[in-house]
């Protein structure tokens, strides 16, 4: 749509007289398009951009939901970095989660994708089955199921009991609780797996044939052919999954009942934000937290893009 309007708009610059006719032309050409876009545009401006700007404003106020907001300058941001131990705890939990869940999930997804790439019979069926957790994963029901699985007398411990292991209550022990959520994240490997699978299909078979003739082992083929040619897909998956991981909320909320317990071991950044906003009604502070999260994700993504030229291999 922008291409159209720019073509039409360019000659208008020199000749202001004709501009009404130009606008008419733009309307005739693009009007229907915008009309069709209208529902989306209303949603985008009314439900996304509008609230975002409001929240940016609120992040500089002491809004508490019930009384009108007062301007407090950068107080919220100063408090975040200098006087808030819970913020520090939430940052630790979130980074731990991102750093462990994303690489493990991607490795697992790649592993399964490679298994499925061997031309199995009934591949679509397997693909669908393995993709299923991705669809279910962020739901409340699965988080509740996870609670049951990893509780003291849950299925996991019943299974371990067969080997004489007396497992702890995984979800309510601060040493393991975050790991149960990481495992839940890894289990939702479906969507990166599908993308890996598509990426693997793109790798020309003749390269492997040539490598086998030269006597390269499977292991060497993986490191020298598969992985380098797959780096654009790895890159894409890593960015998408990192953003997802930063935003993760439901599992921690359901498994800890919104408290981040035991201790603060499952106090994800988003959960802390939620507590501040809806538990203690500090909307101003929560808005500041939300904007810092956005800045953090943006910085992470920018960093990935900047370093990508050193490790992402594009074929051209």
């Amino acid at each position: 749509m922008t291409a159209h309007s720019m073509d039409a708009g360019a000659p208008a610059k020199g000749r202001a007289v004709t501009s009404p006719r130009i606008w008419e032309r733009i309307w005739q050409q693009d009007g229907p398009g915008y009309l069709f876009l209208l529902p989306w545009l209303i949603g985008f401006f009314g439900l996304t951009i509008g609230p975002m700007i409001t929240s940016l404003y609120l992040s500089f106020t002491d809004f508490d939901l019930l009384t009108s907001p007062d301007w407090v300058g950068i107080d919220n941001y100063t408090r975040m970095f200098t006087a808030d131990q819970k913020f520090a705890a939430a940052m630790r939990v979130t980074f731990f989660f991102v750093i462990f869940s994303v690489p493990l999930k991607l490795a697992f997804a790649l592993g399964v994708a490679m298994l499925l790439n061997r031309g199995l019979r009934g591949l679509p069926l397997y693909r669908a089955i393995f993709y299923l957790p991705s669809l279910l994963g962020t739901s409340v029901a699965i988080a509740i199921l996870w609670r049951q699985l990893f509780a003291g007398d849950g299925l996991v411990n019943q299974f371990l009991a067969n080997f004489g292991i007396d497992g702890p209550s995984w979800i309510s022990n601060p040493r393991y609780s975050l790991w149960t959520i990481i495992i839940l994240a890894i289990w939702q490997f479906g969507s990166p797996m599908i993308i890996f699978l598509a990426g693997l299909r793109q790798i020309p078979q003749d390269m492997y044939e040539a490598a086998s003739l030269d006597g390269a082992s499977k292991w060497r083929q993986f490191w020298k052919i598969t992985l380098p040619l797959l780096t654009p897909v790895v890159f894409f998956n890593a960015i998408v999954q990192t953003i997802e991981a930063f935003k993760s909320f439901t599992p921690a909320f359901v498994i800890s009942g919104g408290t981040g317990q035991p201790i603060n071991s499952t106090l994800f950044y988003t959960l802390y934000l939620y507590q501040e906003a809806f538990g203690f009604f500090r909307m101003g502070y929560a808005s500041a937290l939300a904007w810092f999260l956005l800045a953090m994700i943006a910085a992470f993504t920018a960093f990935s893009f900047l370093t990508s030229k050193y490790w992402v291999h594009y074929d051209d």
Binding site: L65, L66, T67, K86, A151, G152, D153, P168, S169, I171, S172, N173, P174, S256, G257, G258, T259, Q261, P262, I263, N264, Q275, F278, G279, F280, F281
Partner: protein, 430 residues
């Protein structure tokens, strides 16, 4: 969360509306008033509440659309609704929040309706007082209650010892715990849940010691020494295996279903007198209630009778009168009282209480008698807690209590940290 209007009713209502409008029978429709009611609680409470709502609709023609949530989610949603100018007409309110909502004009004063649509002539004076903020009536108490230990009687019978009574001390629980450990019933059930991060239990223990959780000025009513002693007492109960392990206790995330008695991990746990009815509804074992443990024989004054919850009026001021009428029906009507029982606490109207007593089941009678016969256990009603109390409970008592329980902090360290940080939160929010 359950909305009472399902899609079919909505469609039927919508069709009726269109049909009605086209047939020109508007007067009938305009007379039909709808009020929104919101409350926290479980299914049992919802069933009772909706039964009363239906009775009221039959009598007055005013429809009540109810919605209920669990405690934690309730305040989240209510805050958002009030901020969005979409507050329900009748709001179940807690002693902890009533001052905050009243001073911010989120709920309406009801004094104008008293004696008119709102009949409170034989209401308990202390229960009326509890609903007042700065001399104005903002909440009508739905019942009196007190904290209480929930006791699984069957478990005690299995172990073969007497369940705790109103004179039991923490030391007695120690002895009972040893009996539980040697009997080893139901895969190692303990006698006691871990109450070290349960705010009402700390409150009760402090009051027995002559302190208070918060002063009338909204400051901490105790010092490091008491907090350290509190954590030490629980550490010794934990080490001796009298109370459940921290791992088990941390499974409790709030709902009735995840508590230690319901999960079968402990035979007793801190609770509230009115909750006996709700817990019995989801527990196969026979339950009862008893007062919190005493710190020493003869020590008392830890308990108090408080309004368990209120109904407040919010939303459109034009509908406030109708809302007050519903509340009056809710607390005065005999038939309504029978449907409600003592699930929200002991009714505050003397006439209702009298009429209700014969119709109560066994558990209801236990709750009624418990609140009526606290005797020397009863102390004065403390002032409403400061607004930061919720944050101190969730972010501090829970976290530090768990840190001590899991061994990440010593009781000494935990006690000091709690007092320092709680004071900081209180001064920041003041």
């Amino acid at each position: 969360m359950t909305l009472r209007i399902d899609r079919r009713h909505f469609l039927m209502g919508g069709t009726a509306l269109i049909a009605g409008a086209s047939a020109g029978i508007r007067p009938v429709l305009s007379q039909e008033q709808r009020l929104r009611l919101t409350f926290w609680g479980g299914q049992d409470r919802a069933d009772r509440t909706y039964a009363v709502a239906d009775m009221f609709a039959a009598e007055s023609g005013t429809q009540i659309d109810g919605e209920f949530l669990a405690w934690n989610d309730y305040w989240t949603k209510l805050g958002t609704q009030v901020a969005g100018g979409n507050a329900p007409n009748i709001i179940q309110m807690d002693y902890r929040f009533i001052v905050e909502y009243a001073t911010r004009n989120a709920i309406l004063p009801l004094d104008d309706y008293v004696g008119g649509v709102l009949q409170l002539s034989d209401f308990d004076e202390d229960q009326l007082e509890g609903g007042k903020v700065d001399g104005q009536l903002f909440g009508i108490s739905l019942g009196a209650n007190s904290v209480a230990m929930l006791v699984n009687e069957d478990a005690f019978a299995e172990v073969g010892i007497e369940p705790p009574n109103r004179d039991s001390t923490f030391d007695d629980y120690m002895t009972m715990g040893e009996a539980f450990n040697s009997a080893n019933i139901r895969g190692g059930m303990k006698v006691l849940a871990d109450g070290s991060w349960t705010e009402p239990m700390l409150d009760n223990w402090l009051r027995q010691n002559g302190f208070a959780l918060y002063t009338a000025e909204g400051q901490l009513g105790f010092g490091e020494e008491q907090m350290v002693e509190w954590f030490r007492m629980w550490a010794s109960l934990r080490e001796a295996g009298i109370c459940v392990s921290p791992e088990d206790q941390a499974l409790d995330t709030g709902p009735l279903e995840s508590t230690m008695v319901t999960l079968g991990k402990a035979a007793t746990m801190p609770s509230n007198s009115n909750q006996l009815v709700a817990y019995q509804a989801i527990n196969p074992d026979s339950l009862t209630i008893v007062s919190y443990p005493r710190i020493a024989p003869g020590a008392g004054g830890g308990h108090y009778r408080k309004p368990s919850m209120f109904f407040s009026v919010g939303g459109n001021p034009e509908q406030a009168e109708a809302a007050a009428e519903f509340i009056s029906f809710f607390v005065n009507d005999q038939e309504a009282a029978e449907a409600l029982g003592v699930e929200r606490g002991i009714p505050c109207s003397a006439a209702v209480r009298e009429a209700l007593a014969p119709s109560l089941d066994e558990k209801g009678r236990i709750a009624l008698e418990f609140v009526a016969n606290l005797g020397d256990l009863l102390g004065p009603l403390p002032p409403p807690p400061p607004t930061a109390a919720g944050e101190i409970d969730l972010s501090l008592l829970r976290v530090i209590g768990q840190e001590v329980a899991f061994g990440a902090r010593t009781p000494e360290d935990g006690g000091k940290a709690f007092v320092t940080e709680a004071s900081a939160i209180l001064s920041r929010s003041a």
